[in-house]
Symmetry: C2
């Protein structure tokens, strides 16, 4: 099998919510695995001077309209932009890496639950207790997860992952690297598909 | 025939260069005409706090790489980012509206020539003489065009068109409005296509 592709996202990013539903299918269609990497978009923003879309005039209104129509097109009836938005994604991101070292498939299932909890059920997934609740449905031990979230090792791990993403040129969410080729944005997933199909353009 | 769709662009925008090649075909596939509107992106940027992509860290490098691969995919071998970049698009934009009032099809042919002159032949199309040169190949009278470029009427017209675009929520280039629905970016042309196909999502 060829090299895996890499999918970077922030749990607070609506475009990443849409992208996480499709990226593994695109990779699999071309015989690729996909590694997932939650990162802290706020840290990446420091490198570009960008900020949250919804805080920008005109672009914020456009983004909200765009998210709603993407949800309609995908048939995701419960989608809504929750409050608070954006939120601090430290806790689910740390939990992800703790799970990912045990079982990457479980870490992806956890990601899907957190995204759904936030964007379809309006839960505040910035809170450790909420993260542990959602994980519990997947059979993940509540106390072990809370202990991991309090462990400096996983705080440091997330910091390192975000640093490594920046070092690889990642500056937004979602962001895909396929054989070193960068693709920024949910609206470029079709390009990722075509790129993998053709082995570059 | 249903209402025309509207295509907004700045002559200095590489993504608009790619989009102008495809937008009329997309509209026609759904029985629509397409009205073209050059605008001054620098004026629109004042509303959003955005600036030229190439002047932004990381995003600038990404954009240059993205333009090159889009050109490769489309088989546009001569594409390159010219110097100066971005350029002042006042003159070709004024010329466009002068032509458009006479013959919209001619104004589109003129647009294609200006885009090609800038992005495939590296000509500085900010200059009135260069604009008139390129127009001449289409049988457009050289002196009449230069006279129009010096006429306050067409300066005012471009100002008004840019104001109207802003009033309709346009904030980037390219930008499409289809029955009031906004689509920002060359990478959303497939969405415009799908939107027109389905009559909304």
């Amino acid at each position: 099998m060829a090299e895996p592709i890499d999918f970077y996202f922030d749990f607070s990013s609506p475009y990443a919510f849409f992208a996480h539903l499709r990226i593994d299918g695109i990779a699999a269609r071309h015989g690729r695995d996909c590694r997932w990497h939650p990162i802290l978009l706020g840290v990446l923003f420091r490198n570009t001077g960008m900020g949250p879309l919804t805080q920008q005039p005109l672009r914020g209104d456009y983004a909200r309209r765009d998210w709603d129509r993407l949800a309609r097109r995908a048939g995701i009836a419960a989608f809504r932009i929750p409050e608070p938005f954006p939120l601090n994604s430290l806790q689910p991101s740390r939990a992800f890496y703790w799970l990912n070292d045990q079982d990457p498939a479980l870490a992806k299932a956890f990601t899907a639950r957190i995204f759904s909890a936030y964007f379809e059920r309006g839960r505040d997934v910035s809170q450790a207790e909420t993260v542990a609740d959602e994980a519990k449905a997947l059979g993940i031990d509540h106390q072990a997860l809370l202990a991991a979230l309090a462990d400096p090792h996983w705080k440091e791990r997330l910091r390192q992952e975000t640093e490594q993403a920046m070092a690889r040129g990642v500056f937004g969410s979602p962001f895909v690297l396929a054989d070193g080729e960068p693709f920024w944005g949910n609206d470029r997933l079709a390009d990722v598909d075509q790129w993998l199909e053709g082995g570059g353009w």
